[in-house]
Symmetry: C2
Subunit: 189 residues, 2 copies
C-alpha cells in the first residue's frame, strides 16, 4: 500500500462507515477519498473493489486498535481486550461491525463473506491467545460479537455485561469441570 492507496482506502472507509455501503454514490466516494474519479478507478476498478479496499484497510486498523502496542508489555487480559473493543465502538463504529454491514448489503458476494470470516476468525483467535487464562475461542467470539452488536443499543451496559460474562467464563475454566447439562438440550418446537 503506497501513500495514494492509503489515502483512498481511508477515505472510502470513513464514507462507508458513515453512510453505509449502498447509499454513497461513486461520486460521493470520490469526494471522500479526495481524488479524481479516474484515479479512484485506477486503484479500485469497480465499486465492489472500493468496498473490498475499505474493508482490508479497516481490518488492519481494527487489529492495531484492539491488539496493538500493549501498555504494559506483558499479558493483555480479556478484560483489556473488551475495553479496547468498547473504545473502538465509542470512537469509530457506533453503528456496529462494518464487515457484517458489508455482507448484509450484498449477501451473495462470496468474496465479502470470505473477508468477514477471516476477520472474525483472526480477532477471536487473537483474543484467545492474548488472554492469560484459557477461555474458549468460541465463547470469546460470542461475547465479542454480543458486545459489538449490542453496543448501539445499550452502550456501556453492554460492556459491563460482556466483561461479567468473560469473567465468569474465565473463572469456570479454572475450576474442575462442573456438571453443565442440567437442562434438556434437545427439545422439538
Amino acid at each position: 500500500m503506497n501513500n495514494m492507496m492509503i489515502k483512498i482506502a481511508g477515505g472510502l472507509e470513513t464514507a462507508f462507515a458513515a453512510r453505509g455501503f449502498t447509499e454513497p454514490s461513486v461520486e460521493e466516494l470520490r469526494d471522500a477519498a479526495g481524488v479524481s474519479l479516474r484515479t479512484l478507478y485506477k486503484y479500485a476498478p469497480s465499486r465492489d473493489d472500493m468496498v473490498r479496499l475499505a474493508l482490508e484497510y479497516r481490518h488492519q486498523r481494527y487489529l492495531s486498535h484492539v491488539f496493538g502496542d500493549p501498555l504494559d508489555a506483558g499479558m493483555q487480559g480479556v478484560n483489556d481486550t473488551l475495553d479496547r473493543v468498547a473504545d473502538w465502538m465509542r470512537t469509530e463504529a457506533s453503528h456496529g461491525c462494518l464487515f457484517h454491514a458489508a455482507v448484509v448489503s450484498a449477501p451473495n458476494d462470496s468474496c465479502l463473506r470470505g473477508l468477514l470470516e477471516r476477520h472474525k476468525a483472526e480477532v477471536s483467535q487473537l483474543a484467545a491467545t492474548k488472554a492469560g487464562t484459557d477461555v474458549s475461542t468460541s465463547d470469546l467470539l460470542v461475547i465479542i460479537e454480543g458486545l459489538t452488536q449490542a453496543w448501539p443499543l445499550s452502550k456501556e451496559d453492554a460492556l459491563t455485561s460482556a466483561k461479567r460474562l468473560a469473567h465468569l467464563a474465565e473463572a469456570a475454566s479454572a475450576e474442575p469441570e462442573p456438571r453443565q447439562d442440567r437442562h434438556q438440550t434437545n427439545r422439538s418446537i
Copy 2:
C-alpha cells in the same frame, strides 16, 4: 392486517431475507409478494414502506417462534429460549438478524432504527421475564446478540457457547455477590 396485507408482508419478508434490502428491485418484490405493482404500492406507498411492512411482520413471527406456545405450559428457561433462537437461525435467518440488516442498509433512517430498538428491547425483556432465575436483561441481550451474530460463522458452536455463558450467569446470580473487579476497568489506550 387483512389477508392481502399478510400475503404481501410475507412475500416481502422472504424476498428481503433471501436477497438483502438493497438488491431486490421493486419488480422483484412484486413477484415475491405475488400481487400487481399497483396493489403493492397501495399497501406500501414507497419502497421504504415495503421494508417497514416486512419488518413488522417479521417481528411478530420472531416473537411467536421464540416465545410462543411453550410445550410444557410452565416456565421457559433461558436454555429453551436459546434453543429456539438457534432453531430460528437454522430455519429462517441463516444470514443474521434482519433488523440489523435493515438498519445497516440505511443507517440514517431513524424509523428503521426505532424498529430495531423496539424489537431488541422486547426480545431481551421477554427472555428475562420468561427465565425462571433472574439473569439481567443486559446480559441476555449480549448473549442473544452474540449467538445471533456468531451463528453464521460457527453455527452449533455458537449455540453451545451461548448456553454455557447463560448457565454461568444464572449460577452467579444465585450466589452471594462475589468480588468481580479484580481487573482494572479503566485503562487509557
